[in-house]
């Protein structure tokens, strides 16, 4: 019995002394540590990575085509060689699939200038090049637009003054950025006609302020990734030869 009382007293004492032992935040130190090449490579980690890296490099280093020059999206005012190449590739790679699925003819392409994520360097074009230009998983969607929406698209291009890649369309603007002339495949835009325009799924949902896509006559996802279209095209073509042309110009 004596022991029991002693035990209870001791336990109570324990709790009170625990409570008394209060730790308070007294000091904080913060710093940034750069991860540099002076740090050792942990071999246990490297051996986990290696098989993944080897498999990847096998694909990434596969030579698909050849670039005679270096092409950058900053080279050109309202149209660039690399942008024209991309729009042309999307047209080329999409038109057959679209026609066979819907029986409609593809009229043109619009992409966004910001969507060109890298340059194409002079020399071999590899799978890695395609991943650098297009690291995202976006896919091609064909959108049916009435002629008046094509007009809105032209207004958009003139207003934003950027070299958004286009194909099938022609646009000239004056020094005040007013539209001087616009056409689809060499013909004036027919406001009542339905045109079929390939783009990427990011832009259809209003990306880069392309709101003219919202009021459309139908969307046809091709389930074909932009990057895969680039890869498939590079495989077919021995040497690329993109140029700056007159599809979107200021006069």
């Amino acid at each position: 019995m004596k022991f029991k009382i002693l035990l209870i007293v001791l336990i109570l004492l324990c709790f009170t002394s625990c409570k008394d032992e209060k730790f308070t935040l007294s000091k904080i130190e913060g710093k940034l540590i750069p991860v540099t090449d002076s740090l050792e490579i942990d071999p246990a980690f490297d051996s986990i990575i290696k098989p993944y890296r080897d498999r990847l490099n096998e694909d990434m280093n596969t030579v698909l085509s050849y670039a005679p020059e270096t092409y950058s999206k900053s080279n050109g005012a309202f149209n660039t060689a690399i942008g024209n190449l991309m729009a042309d590739i999307i047209f080329e790679q999409s038109k057959g699939v679209f026609k066979s699925r819907t029986n409609f003819e593809l009229d043109g392409v619009i992409l966004n200038h910001g969507g060109i994520r890298s340059i194409i360097s002079k020399g071999d074009i590899t799978t890695k090049t395609a991943f650098e230009i297009m690291p995202f998983e976006n896919s091609i969607v064909v959108v049916a637009l009435k002629g008046r929406q094509i007009d809105s698209m032209m207004q958009y291009l003139a207003r934003f003054k950027r070299a958004h890649p286009i194909q099938g369309f022609k646009l000239s603007i004056d020094q005040e950025y007013n539209i001087v002339a616009s056409s689809v495949n060499g013909k004036a835009i027919d406001t009542a006609k339905t045109y079929y325009v390939a783009t990427n799924d990011y832009l259809v949902t209003g990306g880069d302020n392309m709101r003219f896509f919202a009021d459309n006559e139908g969307e046809y996802p091709l389930d074909y990734k932009i990057r895969n279209a680039l890869i498939d095209y590079f495989k077919k073509v021995d040497t690329i030869n993109p140029i700056i042309d007159d599809r979107f110009i200021q006069i």
Binding site: S26, V35, D42, D46, I48, P135, E137
Partner: protein, 305 residues
């Protein structure tokens, strides 16, 4: 009878030893310092390998295998360490396109990450893509303002987690960025975005009052600050609008802070806000020192950055 007597005696002996132990602490008041170390990354974006020597901006920097040896050396020196990531683990190199995040999670598990929050790019393969990789992650995902109850991630993401280190309780909650305009609905599906300030108030109340945490950390992917949209919710605005948060570890804006920012919360108390750029080229380190010496702690908390 004899056996009973023996047990009673040994109980008494044990308790006396305990008394001795406590006596020493409570009466002699030996000053003791507890150190909690927080290590953190953000926006690593699938950068498994270091940048190559020819890279224009980050040549020879980063790389998981180097980060591993750095973290290991810090853990040896300070055992009470927590390793955290503020989101956007996914997307940025073909490792993600090829393996869907499997390698990122496997390596983070081996690095012994304790928790991560979810960035907008972690939805790049949809909630299903993130869910599919969860078996490779031996750490917890925390987010207090993404409600996943109508998605496959239901029950797999917790609003907060409490860690116990050296007798101290560290409460960590996660916050994600508004999904509209950043993440396609096809990817985020029924994920619901809740107000970060309201959820922070709820989290700090729970962690401070109910869980009695000694330290509260917010793991955020809201972004540091938006110069052109100064009123948009960001880590700096969150710090100002809340209380009881000791540290906000941020991401999303790839902000490279040479040292943590000391902000003031709505009670005028200091909150540390930190973010270490992106691509695993830096590791953030914050050390918290706790003291039982009343004379010392009466002077408040000193911040050395």
């Amino acid at each position: 009878m004899k056996r009973r007597h023996f047990i009673q005696q040994s109980v008494a002996a044990t308790t006396l030893v305990t008394l001795g132990g406590f006596g020493l602490q409570s009466f002699n008041a030996a000053p003791r310092v507890k150190q909690i170390t927080i290590l953190h990354t953000n926006d690593v974006h699938s950068h498994i390998d270091a940048f190559g020597p020819e890279d224009g901006r980050n040549a020879n920097q980063g790389g998981v295998a180097r980060r591993a040896s750095l973290i290991e050396s810090i853990r040896k020196e300070t055992p009470n360490t927590l390793l955290l990531d503020a989101g956007d683990i996914f997307q940025g190199t073909p490792y993600f396109n090829y393996y869907g995040g499997e390698l990122e999670f496997r390596l983070m598990s081996k690095l012994k990450y304790d928790a991560a929050t979810i960035g907008n790019h972690d939805f790049d393969n949809g909630v299903d893509g993130l869910y599919a990789q969860l078996p490779h992650a031996k750490f917890d995902f925390i987010s207090a303002n993404y409600d996943f109850k109508n998605t496959v991630l239901d029950t797999h993401v917790k609003p907060y987690k409490v860690f116990k280190k050296d007798g101290l309780k560290i409460g960590i909650f996660g916050l994600g960025i508004a999904l509209d305009g950043l993440v396609d609905r096809k990817m985020s599906k029924e994920t619901e975005y809740l107000d970060p300030i309201e959820m922070s108030q709820e989290m700090t109340r729970r962690l401070k009052t109910e869980e009695q945490c000694d330290l509260i950390i917010c793991l955020s992917h809201l972004g540091y600050h938006y110069k052109n949209l100064p009123d948009r919710i960001s880590d700096l605005n969150l710090a100002k609008a809340t209380k009881d948060i000791d540290l906000i570890i941020g991401g999303h804006t790839h902000t490279f802070l040479p040292k943590p920012t000391v902000a003031q919360n709505k009670e005028g108390k200091n909150v540390l806000v930190n973010q270490v750029g992106c691509y695993g080229i830096n590791l953030g380190r914050i050390d918290f020192y706790f003291d039982n010496d009343k004379n010392k702690t009466a002077n408040g908390t000193s911040i050395i950055v």
